[in-house]
């Protein structure tokens, strides 16, 4: 192997080592510096909570009325208000509102006032088989909450899942 290719190999390997670490670092930074909120959630399919090792979640804010016309894939934000221990939202708007807000992308076209499905990137939660069983028991006993870290731009990342008994 020529010297040039050796250098290229070192570069390629370094990039392959650095990339997962960098992605993990960015995610960890989001979790460390984001604003922590608690959202009420439920599994999409209560009869088959864990497919493999993850659960698909939906939230009360997963389907909301929009205040402006939106096309599929458009970014919208939801202003959140704290009621009790959890945060709730009533409508979505294109653009960023003031205060605590979570932002996502709409799944369909919608006219003003219509309800539309919104994805926030927090719809999947991975867990081990043991943890999955614990969460399933929590779901069976009552409500399920997801603790989410919010960035300044409204993007969200799951921190952990909590059941009623985890309070």
């Amino acid at each position: 192997m020529s010297r040039g290719r050796r250098i290229a190999l070192v570069f390629v390997v370094c990039v392959q080592l650095a990339l997962p670490l960098a992605l993990a670092g960015l995610a960890a930074a989001d979790l460390a510096f984001g604003e922590e909120i608690r959202l009420k959630a439920e599994p999409v399919d209560p009869l088959d909570v864990f497919r493999g090792n993850y659960v698909v979640l939906r939230y009360e804010i997963s389907s909301l009325a929009v205040l402006g016309r939106v096309d599929r894939g458009d970014r919208v934000c939801v202003r959140l208000s704290k009621i009790g221990d959890a945060w709730f939202g009533s409508h979505a708007v294109p653009g960023s509102p003031d205060g605590t807000a979570i932002c996502g992308h709409v799944r369909d076209d919608a006219e003003p006032g219509e309800r539309v499905a919104i994805e926030y990137g927090i719809e999947t939660y991975y867990a081990s088989a043991e943890r999955a069983r614990e969460i399933e028991r929590s779901i069976g006993r009552g409500q399920l909450y997801v603790v989410v870290d919010l960035d300044d731009d409204g993007s969200a990342r799951i921190e952990r899942l909590e059941g009623n008994d985890d309070d």
């Binding site: 192997m1 020529s2 290719r5 050796r6 290229a8 190999l9 390629v12 390997v13 990039v15 392959q16 080592l17 990339l19 997962p20 670490l21 992605l23 993990a24 995610a27 960890a28 979790l31 493999g52 090792n53 993850y54 599929r72 894939g73 990137g121 927090i122 719809e123 999947t124 939660y125 991975y126 867990a127 081990s128 088989a129 043991e130 943890r131 990342r157 799951i158």
Partner: protein, 396 residues
């Protein structure tokens, strides 16, 4: 015995040459292969196959281990473990294949393991932090890493892996984008366009830059080996009347970014067809012609719509032309894998048509007899041409 003894001596000597810096490990391998004993070839292939299977087993084992979520370790420990595993397999591969040249096949398999572990690391990070930003992105990053490694270490196995991962990314992206309404029925069109483009461009690259190192990098042959079955599988779906019918309805649901992506794939596919037509390959023009007809039929079905049964007849004829044409192209170009692949497609088509509701109106036995006679006739023509060719070669 003398030959074996020579090859063993050559092996020992060439390792010494590498150690003394007289030749590189690659040059030593080239010298050994020049004087290789023909009986060694199957043994070498078996070693390569075993090493690759071992690497795949370890790699997928690690992915499975990762997917099972190890609760007992912190995120940092998991990341360190995978980082060490990636670095370790690359270091071991470099030592065995490049530095000493003593175990080049095991070394290549360890490079492949490094690539698989890199992919596992990406998915682990996604899983640890519940990343759901855009799932297929990890496949694209993985394909990029695999491509870079394959080009630097010049490994055919990793080139094949890179092409497969890239194909997975294309499928995942379009699958997500089309997973709405009737649009998913357009998914096989992606397979036809992408697979056809891959096969056409890879074949032309292999023919045009025969002497360039890239032609021996494994990418052209992997592109051909993956592209052709993917394109044929996409076309095969439309030989069923329901799928052909749904294709016509899909056009209303394909728009915006997805339409742009389709157009880009169509341009690549046309470029692939043109490259096939212009290359020096004996069957190039025929292959380009059939691929052009398939593209035209798909475009008409998407843009004009119409009766599914009529399109099913058209796509059945085209699939038969593709399957038999692959055999003919393999025969003309002396490529056994193409002949074998074509035979598989013909067999699959015959079985599918036997059970397909579309043909139920016809007496199946008559249809089978007709199809069988057609295939026998083609075999007769091919054998006659082969005999003539051998006779001419004997005369000259």
């Amino acid at each position: 015995m003398a030959d074996r003894s020579f090859s063993e001596q050559l092996k020992r000597q060439s390792q010494a040459w590498v150690a003394e810096g007289i030749v590189s490990a690659e040059q030593a391998a080239a010298i050994r292969s020049r004087y290789a004993d023909g009986r060694e070839e199957p043994r070498a292939r078996a070693t390569t196959a075993l090493a690759v299977i071992g690497a795949l087993a370890v790699g997928f084992g690690v992915i499975g281990f990762v997917a099972a979520n190890w609760d007992g370790m912190s995120h940092a420990v998991r990341l360190v473990l995978l980082t060490v595993a990636v670095a370790g397999s690359y270091a071991a591969a470099f030592h065995l294949r490049e530095r000493t040249g003593s175990y080049p096949r095991v070394g290549e398999a360890l490079y492949l393991l490094g690539v698989i572990l890199f992919g596992a690391s990406l998915f682990l990070v996604g899983q640890m932090y519940n990343v759901q930003a855009h799932d297929p992105l990890a496949l694209l990053l993985w394909a990029g890493g695999a491509t870079a490694t394959a080009l630097v270490v010049r490994s055919r196995a990793i080139a094949a892996a890179a092409v497969l991962i890239l194909t997975g990314w294309v499928g995942f992206e379009f699958g997500l984008a089309l997973d709405d309404g009737n649009a998913l029925s357009a998914f096989p069109v992606v397979a036809i366009l992408y697979g056809g483009a891959l096969y056409g461009l890879a074949t032309a690259a292999q023919e045009r830059i025969r002497e360039h190192w890239f032609a021996r990098s494994g990418f052209p042959e992997s592109g051909r080996g993956v592209g052709l079955p993917v394109a044929a599988a996409g076309l095969f779906v439309f030989t069923f009347s329901d799928a052909a019918d749904a294709l016509g309805r899909a056009r209303d649901d394909v728009g915006g970014f997805v339409l742009g992506a389709f157009l880009l794939l169509a341009v690549l596919a046309l470029t692939g067809a043109a490259a096939l037509a212009l290359c020096r390959r004996p069957s190039g023009r025929y292959e380009a012609g059939v691929f052009g007809l398939v593209l035209a039929a798909v475009l008409v079905a998407v843009l004009a719509g119409g009766e599914g049964d009529a399109y099913a007849v058209l796509f059945n004829v085209l699939f038969a032309a593709v399957a038999l044409g692959i055999i003919y192209a393999g025969y003309l170009s002396d490529e056994a894998w193409l002949v074998n692949l074509g035979v598989v497609f013909v067999a699959v088509d015959l079985v599918a048509r036997y059970f397909d509701v579309f043909w139920s109106a016809l007496p199946r036995s008559v249809g089978m007899i007709g199809a069988g006679l057609l295939v026998l006739g083609i075999a007769y023509v091919l054998e006659r041409q082969r005999k003539r060719l051998l006779e001419r070669m004997a005369e000259s």
